[in-house]
Symmetry: C2
Subunit: 191 residues, 2 copies
Amino acid sequence: MRLLEERIKKDGIIGEGNVLKVDSFLNHQMDIDLICKLADEFYRLYENNGVNKILTIEASGIGIAAIVAQRFGVPMVFAKKFKTKNLTGDIFTAKVESFTHGTVYDIMVSKKFLSEKDNVLIIDDFLAKGQALLGLTKIVKDSGAKIVGCGIVIEKAFQDGGKKIRDLGIRVESLARIKEMSAETGVVFFD
Amino acid sequence: MRLLEERIKKDGIIGEGNVLKVDSFLNHQMDIDLICKLADEFYRLYENNGVNKILTIEASGIGIAAIVAQRFGVPMVFAKKFKTKNLTGDIFTAKVESFTHGTVYDIMVSKKFLSEKDNVLIIDDFLAKGQALLGLTKIVKDSGAKIVGCGIVIEKAFQDGGKKIRDLGIRVESLARIKEMSAETGVVFFD
């Protein structure tokens, strides 16, 4: 998506260790105008697939998924990362390794909110090594719901997460696919 | 707001220790139709106050704040709870005690995203003892920005958070104010 690629070129900052900072418009400050346009694009890609639920994972996926859910006119569910007093009863869980944070954590969705009646579109801001997305797909499969596909804002296509998910036969649509980027030169190349 | 009060009565579940579970429509699964109506109400309350930025805190405030920001046509910023590799440079911080999670944590906003030019509306799902909101107001004050007010979905008016914030001279608008609730009878009374 040209508009997004241009925004990444303009405002993205490349750090050491393949970190792409897009905190001025995507995952700390959010440019809601832009997010609405991303949501329109996800809608265009998946409008004929009977999506009746949007699933994401806290925290930075939530704002995007809320706007996408509004565009589709369906509820949104966000997987939680920590067991709290507010999350009780039967839950679907998966283990996720975060390379960004250097931790392993459980993600959880209450069994009340996913079932075999659901056609789920999974939304997230980033796809790199694919761990969070693999966790979410496991949860959807455990629930008996159907995965319509995944909608990703930025895919680091030089990492293997996208391949892992697509190899499972799951449709993945990424609005920007980064082929290569360099902290040294500050240049990003898209697929 | 009558619609919200009725929804809380219908779908809210009261647990021990003054826990109100609204995870079927507000903070795990999100009824985006309802959230849009809440956003309309926040807009009605604050439309003439020159709001140019929405501020919230991860995680459960983000979805609501995104829809509210869309309604106002302004960007949204969410305070982060953990220092990550993606949050570098100068930051505003505050310490917050979470009674729900039994922890103390730092919240952070990059200095790039709040300044004396901003008129900030703070949005959150719950106001109980007010710790998160106090942390956010400290951050806004440290930045030199103006706090237009706070927009809260559910205030536990039998706890002292609302009083603490209002005693600072800050406008707080809560769409549902719970006066009393009982885990035993399952009944909620509103102000």
